[in-house]
């Protein structure tokens, strides 16, 4: 295998990793905010509000991320004629909207995993629904949610590679350019894979630390 191209082309991979990090970061932050909002919508007692949230999640979960990216890339300018969103923004928005749906599901299942006895006990102690939710249920739900949330974050790093199809210069896109220039099919991909591994491994280590910290209060 020939890795000599790294001498001339290393900058491409660095630029790519930089954009990938930006995309994943936005996806995770915006996705979390939207995900929380979405979960609140879906737990609403107003049927219409709940329906909107549910339809949104069903759509996102039921269609490929690639399709969602194209819908935003082509659909938004077509719908709001004249509105031109930069490609990076399109990618970030698509990733965030996508992450929001999955995060909402994660939060929902985390909340439902807390035993019903907790809510019953809280209510019988005289707490309101609100107090019980935020002070008793949510903190326990959070410990359930965190591992799944961490997986979602790692997923966002890898999902960002799909954004390359609309020309955003993240890691996979840059890798394609290097492959084209050097006529080397495999080696640049291996380098890119290493790049993704560094990012995801670092993240999963950090998440492991956070999880361990939270576990100290458990006495199983």
């Amino acid at each position: 295998m020939n890795f000599s191209f790294l001498g001339t082309y290393y900058q491409f991979f660095i630029t790519g990793i930089y954009i990938t990090i930006i995309l994943a970061l936005i996806a995770v932050v915006l996705g979390s905010i939207l995900g929380v909002a979405l979960t609140l919508l879906r737990r609403s007692k107003y049927k219409v509000v709940k329906l909107i949230g549910d339809i949104y999640v069903e759509f996102i979960r039921g269609t490929p991320l690639l399709a969602q990216i194209y819908i935003i890339y082509i659909g938004v300018p077509a719908l709001f004629s004249g509105m031109d969103i930069p490609d990076l923004a399109v990618g970030a928005i698509a990733l965030s909207l996508n992450a929001a749906a999955y995060i909402s599901e994660t939060i929902r299942s985390g909340i439902e995993a807390v035993s019903k006895g907790q809510m019953e006990a809280a209510r019988s102690l005289g707490m309101s629904q609100r107090t019980a939710m935020f002070d008793i249920i949510m903190p326990q739900a959070f410990k359930n949610i965190l591992p799944a949330l961490g997986n979602q974050f790692i997923g966002s790093i890898k999902d960002s590679s799909i954004v390359s199809v609309i020309g955003v210069a993240e890691l996979m896109y840059e890798t394609t350019i290097v492959r084209g220039n050097t006529a080397l099919g495999l080696e640049p991909i291996l380098v890119a894979s290493l790049g993704y591994l560094v990012l995801t491994f670092t993240l999963s280590r950090l998440l492991g630390i956070v999880e361990r910290r939270l576990k100290t209060s458990d006495r199983r």
Partner: protein, 272 residues
């Protein structure tokens, strides 16, 4: 107390998000495709789409550690933007995405060795032709003897660029062949070298260079013509006449030089 704070924060965050998205709608720029020549001069730049993986027309190279797109089409772009008195910005994307980007206003024109076909004429306005060449089949050097006639390719696996004139030629002349479509010319060469396809159809200058950077490939004697007039610059449908005329003026002026630009660009392609 805590729940009130959480409620407030989430309320602010949500309304902030709404405000940002609405503000985004309001301050969006109108795309230049709606305002033609005047719009472009006002913007001060043209956004040009191309598939920058087709040496010698347009391709990436490393110049002093930085990525640069060069090629004969870039030389043409230099002249077009100079005559229009504006700067240019290149958007590199897969070939089949070019017309979509043009129609949705993401780019102002396409300079990517694109030939005006009947189908394409419906969706874009084309300039005069600036270059015309024939197409040739490339195969692996080891199989050069196997593919000496069109017949030998009847049931072969042939690759071409998605949404290209070569795709149409293969569909018409080799209807029983297994046609594989890819987004970039360099991907075609890689698939051929990796034995995923038996032959690849590209135009002659591209063939010369793909063979140069991939020594395991070779040109056959099988030449084809498409029924278009040649490569032209694509502009949005119903572009204003002033823009098309200005572009045509540049093309007419520079047409004799195009061959020289091609040979220049060919010399810049490195051999691996």
């Amino acid at each position: 107390m805590k729940k009130a704070l959480v409620k407030k924060v989430s309320g602010i965050a949500l309304s902030g998000l709404l405000a940002i998205s609405l503000a985004g709608c309001g301050t969006a720029e109108k795309t230049a495709s709606k305002s033609g020549l005047e719009g472009i001069k006002q913007k001060g730049k043209i956004v040009v789409g191309m598939m920058a993986a087709t040496p010698p027309y347009e391709f990436h190279t490393v110049d002093g550690g930085k990525d640069k797109i060069i090629g004969s089409d870039i030389k043409l772009l230099d002249q077009v933007s100079k005559d229009l008195g504006v700067k240019y910005e290149i958007k590199d994307m897969d070939f089949d995405g070019l017309l979509v980007a043009l129609q949705s206003g993401k780019i102002d024109m396409i300079i990517s060795a694109m030939s005006p076909t009947e189908e394409r004429e419906k969706n874009a306005d084309f300039s005069n032709v600036y270059y015309k060449d024939r197409h040739v089949m490339i195969v692996r050097k080891s199989e050069l003897d196997k593919f000496k006639t069109n017949d030998s390719l009847k049931n072969a696996k042939i690759a071409a660029i998605k949404s290209s004139v070569q795709e149409q030629i293969v569909e018409k002349q080799f209807p029983n062949a297994d046609l594989k479509l890819l987004g970039k010319s360099t991907e075609l060469a890689m698939d051929l070298a990796a034995k995923k396809v038996d032959a690849v159809l590209v135009d002659r200058p591209t063939a010369t260079l793909l063979v140069k950077s991939n020594p395991s490939l070779a040109k056959t004697e099988l030449l084809f013509d498409d029924d278009t007039a040649g490569a032209a610059i694509a502009m949005p449908n119903d572009s204003d006449k002033a823009l098309v005329d200005a572009v045509n003026k540049t093309i007419d002026r520079t047409k004799p030089e195009y061959e020289k630009w091609l040979t220049d660009a060919m010399s810049k392609v490195k051999q691996n």
